[in-house]
């Protein structure tokens, strides 16, 4: 084992130490901001450095087998053995770099973004804690250890969404995120139980090794397991039907949205599916379901993104939509493709969020200066921002091109890779053509709504108030710096996994080979003629261009009115703005009935009424009532006493004889 791989525990421990230090500061001396920045960012940079070293060590290794580093026995009972162990392999290496790298950048950005917040130390404590759990999720060598990270990131998401806890909306959103995640986790748990029952282990290496013997292809058990895993992944990665928490999660600070709700945590579901690729490969039906869920989510979320006014909501639905792509990718067997999109998405979506954050930051400062209470996130209050924030404007356009799929940028290659595989699978079963088509339409919509976002935000006249405009300014360098780095990533990350028709193709695919090779036994080879591939790329390019052009043509930023003057939406627009009323439907069908039933039926009627009232107190009452009757029988009249006596006598004599 290369020495540097052995350092991997540092990647886990460093952020945790940061959390402890910052947490302590937040309780003891919250005003020590510079120490917090130093610790908070420092541990991340260090962790990133170690991560690079670890991956470098791994890349020197030729065997390709995963390294499992066991530290202690966690839960060992009977046949169950769960070790506190980390696993370093090609997949976790990719994730590790992305997570620590993007996190480090976002930490830096946060130094600027959050500097005026009274909860500054707490913020960094939570953020460090998040990285700790995320790294654990990525590195965990078994399902349960991964689950620790899995739930842990959910916890941090909860804490950070509710960071400004004094607002009920924020606290609600945090709670919703946690609960939705928990619903998904339920599936994760069930999957673990099933896996353990079938294979007798929960460690990745052992499970995947045993899988070919333990399961029958397309058998009930494996299908059940993969469905359960899908449920877990859908919760974390905000797929239908558990996606509703993600848009609400935008209530948190914007860097959090960038880190947790765009770049890292929400991709955990994709990671899970990729990690368990052998299981999904053995359950083709589940894979189709995964792909379908992904495609539908991609399309559905994209429609909602079309009409959102809140800049972060647009990005949130965009994230949901892109996650759908990733699911589509891993669902059609393009595990590397899915991971590839995950990586590129991490760059450009983080960039988009941070960029929007920097816009919001500027607007917020302006409103703060004029004591205005307008919504700093509503695009109708923006417009013409390019004048004030040139850097932000530029990098945002880079990211928009990337996500829209303009050729040459990272998003083009990653999205195309997924769609190409989906199309190729159409050869096996026509349903994949449909999925491909949905992906393409979603891409069109993506291009459209992203352009819309850019147009409304940066172009046209400024709809920010007169007084406020004087206060608008570009963000400080600690914020723009990371933006630039991410922009570079958004542009060049595409080279990681170029299509087969280009030179140096499929580096990432090759890199991940040791992890995904098991599943290759169960997936047909994808064959796509070079011409088809070119054709598909052309279609993708056309779609992207069409979407962007359509937006430019159809939308008139100069006619837009500021939020308070804007007319109410109607018809389908309103339905889209209200996100197809899904939240309301959930509320009416599930949340309210559950609470109502719990309160009125279970508690007040059954618990207090039936069990406690009728049975417990009822029996006590009955006994007492009988007692009172008996007491009333004691009339005090001797004649009656004598009568009872004699009747007793008669009965007793009868009984004796």
């Amino acid at each position: 084992m290369p020495t540097s791989v052995g350092w991997v525990w540092l990647v886990v421990v460093l952020p945790f130490l940061g959390f402890l230090a910052n947490g302590l500061i937040s309780l003891v001396k919250p005003q020590a901001k510079s120490a917090v920045s130093f610790i908070g960012v420092g541990v991340l940079v260090a962790a990133f450095a170690v991560a690079v070293a670890v991956v470098a060590g791994l890349s020197q290794d030729q065997q390709g087998a995963p390294y499992v580093l066991t530290y202690w026995s966690w839960m060992t009972v009977g046949g169950l053995e769960i070790a506190a162990a980390l696993q370093v392999d090609q997949l976790s290496a990719v994730m590790l770099i992305v997570v620590t790298g993007v996190s480090a950048l976002i930490h830096v950005f946060s130094v600027g973004y959050m500097r005026d917040d009274p909860g500054y130390p707490r913020y960094f404590a939570f953020l460090n804690l998040f990285v700790f759990f995320m790294v654990l999720l990525v590195l965990g060598a078994s399902f349960p250890v991964m689950f620790v990270g899995w739930e842990g990131v959910g916890l941090c998401s909860y804490l950070l969404i509710g960071f400004w806890y004094l607002d009920k909306v924020n606290a609600d959103a945090g709670k919703k995120a946690f609960l939705m995640n928990r619903i998904g986790d339920f599936g994760f748990l069930i999957a673990m139980f099933l896996i353990f029952q079938a294979t007798g282990s929960l460690a990745f290496t052992e499970v995947f090794e045993a899988a070919p013997e333990a399961f029958t292809i397309n058998g009930e058990i494996i299908t059940l397991i993969t469905w359960a895993l899908l449920r877990g992944g859908a919760g974390k990665s905000a797929q239908i039907p558990l996606y509703t928490w993600l848009p609400d999660a935008m209530a948190g600070p914007t860097p959090v949205s960038a880190l947790i709700h765009a770049a890292t945590m929400v991709t955990a579901g994709v990671y899970l599916v990729a990690r368990s690729n052998i299981l999904f490969a053995m359950a083709p039906v589940s894979s189709v379901v995964v792909a379908t869920v992904g495609a539908v989510t991609a399309l559905f979320a994209a429609t909602i993104a079309l009409k959102q006014w809140d800049i972060k909501k647009v990005l949130a639905y965009s994230t949901v939509s892109q996650l759908g792509y990733m699911f589509l990718g891993v669902g059609v067997g393009a595990y590397a493709g899915g991971i590839f999109h995950l990586v590129t998405h991490a760059f450009f979506k983080a960039l988009l969020f941070l960029g929007s954050g920097s816009v919001i930051f500027a607007l917020h400062r302006a409103y703060h200066a004029t004591h205005s209470h307008d919504d700093a996130q509503d695009m109708r209050n923006m417009g013409g921002m390019r004048k004030f924030m040139p850097w932000t404007f530029a990098v945002m356009w880079v990211a928009t091109f990337a996500i829209a799929g303009i050729p040459g940028l990272s998003g083009f290659f990653s999205k195309d890779g997924i769609l190409a595989v989906a199309f190729a699978r159409g050869h096996d079963h026509p349903v994949f053509y449909l999925l491909w088509l949905m992906g393409v339409i979603a891409a069109l919509l993506t291009a459209f709504y992203m352009t819309r976002l850019m147009l409304y935000t940066f172009h046209g006249p400024s709809r920010t108030g007169e007084g406020e405009q004087r206060h608008l300014a570009e963000a400080p360098w600690v914020m723009t710096g990371p933006l630039v780095v991410l922009a570079l990533g958004s542009i060049f990350a595409g080279v990681l996994n170029l299509p087969h028709v280009l030179p140096n193709p499929g580096w990432l695919e090759h890199w991940l080979e040791p992890v995904t090779e098991l599943s290759h036994r169960y997936w047909n080879e994808v064959h796509l003629a070079a011409s088809t591939e070119w054709l598909l790329m052309a279609v993708a390019t056309a779609i992207a261009v069409a979407g962007m052009a359509g937006a430019v043509i159809m939308l008139k930023p100069e006619k837009l009115k500021a939020a308070k003057e804007a007319p109410a939406e109607t018809g389908i627009q309103k339905v889209l703005l209200k996100k197809w009323y899904v939240d309301e439907i959930y509320d009416a069908l599930i949340v309210r009935p559950t609470v109502w039933m719990s309160r009125n039926v279970l508690w007040k009627f059954f618990d207090a009424g039936v069990i406690d009232g009728a049975m417990v107190n009822g029996s006590a009452w009955t006994a007492r009532a009988v007692g009172f009757v008996g007491s009333a029988v004691q009339t005090g009249r001797l004649a009656w006493y004598l009568l009872v006596f004699v009747i007793g006598t008669l009965v007793l004599l009868r009984a004796v004889m």
Binding site: S631, A632, Q634, T635, G636, R637, L638, A639, L642, L643, V646
Partner: protein
């Protein structure tokens, strides 16, 4: 002629009449007299049995008489005592204690 069975039967009847008297009457003294009736009935049984079983039965009757005498003394004293409080010996009116 064996009168044992008949005597016992007569005894039983008188005993039952005594019980009936106790149930029927509200006057404490008459109730008490009914009880005396019961005791007499039992005595009759003893005497009848003694004829066949030995003199113990007769001795028994002596003791019962002593007891009856003692009871009469105490009982009547008690009845006088309650009469002093209530100016009546009607048992239906002696019901301060109940419940």
């Amino acid at each position: 002629m064996d009168l044992l069975g008949s005597a016992l039967a007569v005894s039983a009847i008188i005993f039952s009449l005594g019980v009936a008297g106790v149930l029927l009457r509200r006057n404490a003294i008459i109730v008490f007299m009914s009880i005396e009736l019961m005791l007499n009935a039992v005595n009759l049984s003893f005497i009848a049995l003694a004829q066949q079983l030995g003199p113990e039965g007769q001795v028994f009757v002596l003791f019962v008489m002593a007891v009856a005498a003692a009871e009469a003394v105490v009982g009547l004293a008690i009845i006088i005592a309650i009469y002093r409080h209530k100016q009546t010996v009607n048992l239906d009116k002696i019901n301060l204690l109940s419940g």
